[in-house]
Structures are given as C-alpha cells and as structure tokens.
Amino acid sequence: MSAADVSILRRPNDRLRRRRAVNLAMEVLGWLAAAIGVALLVILVWSVAKRGASELSLDLFTKSQVPYAVSGTSQGLANAFVGSLVIVGIATAIALPFGILIAIYVSEFAPRAVRNGVNFVLDVLNGIPAIVIGVFIYGLIVLGRGQSGFAGSCALAVLMLPLVARSTIEILALVPNSLREAALGLGSPRWRATLGIVVPQAIGGILTGATLAVARVAGETAPLLLTTSIVGPGVHWNPRMALQSVPVAIYELTDSPIPSDHAIAWAGALVLILFILIVSLTARWLATRSRRKLARAAR
C-alpha cells in the first residue's frame, strides 16, 4: 500500500464528517438540556428568595393573617405555620406506623403472590392525584361534620402511606439475611427477630424515608383546600376545628388582587421551600449513608 492511500484513509470523508457533526450537535443538546434542568431549579428558588427575603421578619412568625387587611397592616403567617405543624404532625403519626407495618408484612411475612398484590396496591395509591384524595376525604369525613385539621391530616396520611411503605420495603430488603437467620437460629421467635433485629438495623433508612415523605406532603395544597381551609382568624392548635396551613395560605394569597398579599405569599413560599429543600437534601444524604452502611454490613 503506498503512502498516498494511507493518507486518504486518514482524511475524514464527507460521510464521517457529517456523522461527527450530528454527534457534536447531539452532545451540545445534551449539555443544553442539563443546563436548562438545573437552571429551572435555580430560577425558581432565586425568584422565591429574591421576593420573599425582604418580607422575612419576626412578624411573619409571630402575627397571624388579618382577613381583608388594609394595605400596610402588619400581618404574618403564624396561624398557617401552627396549622401546618399540627396537620402534618398528626398525618405522620398515622402514616408512619401504618406504613412500616405494611412494609414488614411485605418483606417479612407475605407469600410472593400477596407481596406483588400489595406492591401493586401501593403503586395505585401513589398514582392517585392529590385532589382526588381531597374529594375522597371530603366525602368520608368532612361531609356532615364540617372541615377540620384532622380531616386534612387524614388526607395527607393517605398521600404519605405509599411513600413510607415503599421506602421501608426498599430498606428492609437491604438488611442482610444472615442477621435474620442468626436471630432465628438462636431460637428467637419471628416477631422478636423482626422487631428486635431487622427493624433496628434499618431504622435510619426508615426514618429518612419518612422524613422525605413529610417534606413531600408539607407542600400539598389540593387535599387541604377541600378539607381544612375555611378558617377563622387567629392561631389555633385544636385539630378538631379547621386549621390554616402554609400551602393553602400561599394559594389564597396568590389569588388575591392586593400586592401586599403577594408579598406575604412570597415570604411563606420562601420558608416552605427552604424547609423542604433542607429536609429533603439532608434526608437524601443520610439515606445514601445508611444504605452504604447496610451494604457494608452485608459483606
């Protein structure tokens, strides 16, 4: 083969050049997509931070909303913060044990067919839109009895249930079988092996999963709008009456034509988004850590 032939082989022909151009274009598009994805979050958080930061003051946490306030009245969202705390707290108290029990059943007791069935039910429950859960709880609890913080808690608990159950199932599956076998081999009954050995091993992962679920439902608006939104003035702790909540307050203030209401909405949004971002990023970090620990234990 002469030297000239080799140089022809080395020179990119038109076809190769086009393939490379297409490849480059696609790689640029990939970078662009990632940039847009990250930019969306940055823009959202920045918009909220810029508009909400100026309204952050002690008043926001100590004063309640004043209905039909004249522009300039100093008001805050204390009633909404307290309401959210009560509603989400009760929802967690319902969904956490319930969800963990489901997970224990699926990963420790259920025969294969039943396990698939329960997993399917959890998927279905997870896919039902939040507003439909709101309509469900309205029909089940609110109708005839009136709105209450408790009804809101029930709605949020239904939303949390599949999240808690699924994350717990995932983490229980990571607990090494040798631990179960060792416990049973030493003669401890199944219930003690499960509650005394398996669950404590996974408790970190279970709690981070629960925390992520709390962060998810703390921002839910639709179900609370139907179940606990018609509220009187002032701060209330009693879940038997309708309680204001942060997301519902933001929703209502956004719809208001008064600019000062928008300012409070931004401030509430800033507190909510900071809470959710900090909680979910920390939980995510803890989750990868505890997962790594379990993986190490399995080795």
Partner: protein, 324 residues
C-alpha cells in the same frame, strides 16, 4: 427480593406459646395494615362513585362530551375540562420528554463524573418543589414574561398556524400551564430514564463504540432500543402526574369554564384545577356531585395510566429477560 426464600425454612411453627402468640400478633397486625391499604383504594373508588351518583344518574355518560358549566340552569358537562386536561398534559409531555431524556443522557453518558451527582441531585430536587410554589411563580413571574415576550414572538413567527392565535392579555392560559406542568414532569421522566440508561450493559455500548459508532449513534442504536419500554413507561407516569395536577394549573390556566379554544394562548381549565377552584363554591348538590364526577374521571385516568405503565414495564422486562 430473595430475602424470603432463604428464610422460608425458618418459618416452621415455633413451639413456645408466647412466641407463637407474638408471631401471630405481629403477622396479624402487619397483614391487617396491608389489607388496610387495599381497603383504602376500594374506599376511594366507592366514595367517589357514591358522591357522583346524583350527577351520574342525571347526566349519564353524556356528561363526558357535554360542553358548559351552568350552575344557574343546573347544566353541567366535562368536555371543557377534558379538553384542557388533554391539551395541557400532552403539551407538557411533548415539551418535557426531549428535555428529560437529554438530561438523563447527559448524566448517564456525557457528564464528567464530578458533574453527575450535582446535576442529578438538582434536577431531582425540582420534583420536591411544591406545586403551589410553582403556581405562584407561574402566575407572578412566568405569566408576565409569556405575555410580553413569548406569546407575541410565537404569534408573529408562527401565527399562520391556528394553534398560535392572538396572545393573551394576562399571560395565563394553556401554554403557561404547559410550561408549568413541564417543570413538574421533567424530574420524574429524567430520573426513571437515567436509571434505565445506566442499566444498559456496558458490553453492548462498548461493542457499538468499538465498531466505530459515534456516541450519538451508540445512544440511538443501542441505548434507546434497549430502554424503549421503560422510557415509554416513564413518559406515561409523567403524563399521569400532569393529568392530576390541580393547584399549579388552577393558578395559571385562566380558569374559564366554558371555552374550548384552539388557541394555545387561550384561557381554559382542567379537571383537577376546576375541582380545586369550584368545590367549596358549589351552589347545589348537583354541582358538587358533578365535581365529584370530574374527580371520578380523574381517578379512572390515573388507574389506566398506572396499569399501562406497569404492563409496558412487565412486557419489556420479559423481552429482555431481565427481572425488573
């Protein structure tokens, strides 16, 4: 989960009475909880059918194709909302899928390893932003931009297509809702797709690259065909999220209840948004029942979407011979 198969041996009945009682209690409580979840799903369906019964018996299935919502003459129909739901969710899917797949490909194929973690975390954090905050941003920040820049530009350049009619004077409408929904479904589609792309066996990719394929040709020829089913399922799950979103859409869609506008800048409404807006304002039992009927339609949609996604995943898993 092979956790059980090995412990099955150890599951033989235990002799101690206390042990047996404890096992019985825990297993019973756990089984009751699992049954409880099933009962809740059933209760949801039953409660919605019960609530919608009045409207079901008054309007029947014609409700679905009937336009208009008239509380004064007690005439209700779902067509406006079905149209709005369809145009906004499919619009969001159209806009969001390429973006989400681009992000997933970036993370799995292109990104230098130090950039992978941060980009994944940031995009998935987007899914944690509450819908009410996206709606707040949509109406107070996005809508003015749509009104002043995006909509006039689209109208003047693409105005010959009837889809891009005269711009909206407020900036609300279908297109703004589509943008908002896109933000909400991108993290869902991209995180599922990323996992799928990362699951493509390296030998296949290396084979293609070794034969001289460019990176893009490897993606098109190996990664996409290998993950086709899963990506379709991810898109369907994204669609399900978009179909059911109420609050963010309620804030930005303009909330008109009897317009079916071919113009993407037009105001309209969706099933979820209209329930959120109107439920507590409903003036009559028939109106409330009709709103529950809308919820029932939404429930059916979400069930169909879930079943479809699962069927696709199962089929493609069987085809590839890998248990998913």
């Amino acid at each position: 989960m092979s956790a059980l198969d090995t412990t099955d041996v150890a599951r033989r009945p235990f002799t101690g009475r206390r042990a047996r009682l404890g096992d019985l209690l825990l297993q019973g409580a756990a089984a009751v909880a699992a049954l409880g979840a099933t009962v809740i799903v059933g209760l949801i369906a039953w409660q919605l059918i019960k609530g919608a019964r009045l409207s079901l018996s008054t309007f029947g299935l014609g409700f679905v194709t009937d336009v208009g919502w008239d509380p004064v003459h007690l005439h209700f129909g779902a067509a406006t909302f079905l149209y709005g739901t369809a145009i906004t969710s499919f619009g969001a899917l159209l806009l969001g899928t390429p973006l989400a797949l681009g992000i997933a490909l970036f993370v799995s194929e292109l990104a230098p390893s130090w950039l992978r973690g941060p980009v994944t975390a940031l995009v998935e954090t987007l899914a944690a932003v509450p819908s009410v905050i996206i709606g707040l941003w949509g109406i107070l920040v996005l809508a003015p931009i749509m009104r002043d820049h995006v909509e006039p530009a689209l109208h003047s350049s693409l105005g010959f297509v009837p889809l891009f009619g005269p711009p909206n004077s407020v900036g609300t409408g279908y297109l703004t809702a589509i943008v908002v929904l896109t933000i909400m479904i991108v993290p869902i589609i991209s995180s599922i797709s990323r996992e799928l792309f990362l699951g493509v066996p390296n030998e296949l990719k290396e084979g293609a690259l070794g034969l001289g394929a460019t990176r893009w040709e490897t993606v098109r020829g190996v990664v996409f065909p290998y993950t086709r089913g899963g990506v379709a399922a991810a898109m369907i799950l994204g669609l399900g999220r978009a179909l059911g979103e109420a609050i963010a859409v309620a804030l930005v869609i303009g909330a008109f209840n009897n317009s079916i506008s071919g113009n993407v800048f037009g105001n309209g409404n969706t099933l979820g948004a209209w329930i959120a807006i109107q439920f507590l304002n409903a003036a009559s039992n028939l109106e409330k029942s009709s709103l529950v009927y809308l919820g029932l339609i939404l429930l059916v949609f979400s069930l169909v979407v879930n079943l479809l996604a699962q069927a696709i995943v199962r089929r493609s898993a069987r085809k590839l011979g890998t248990p998913s």
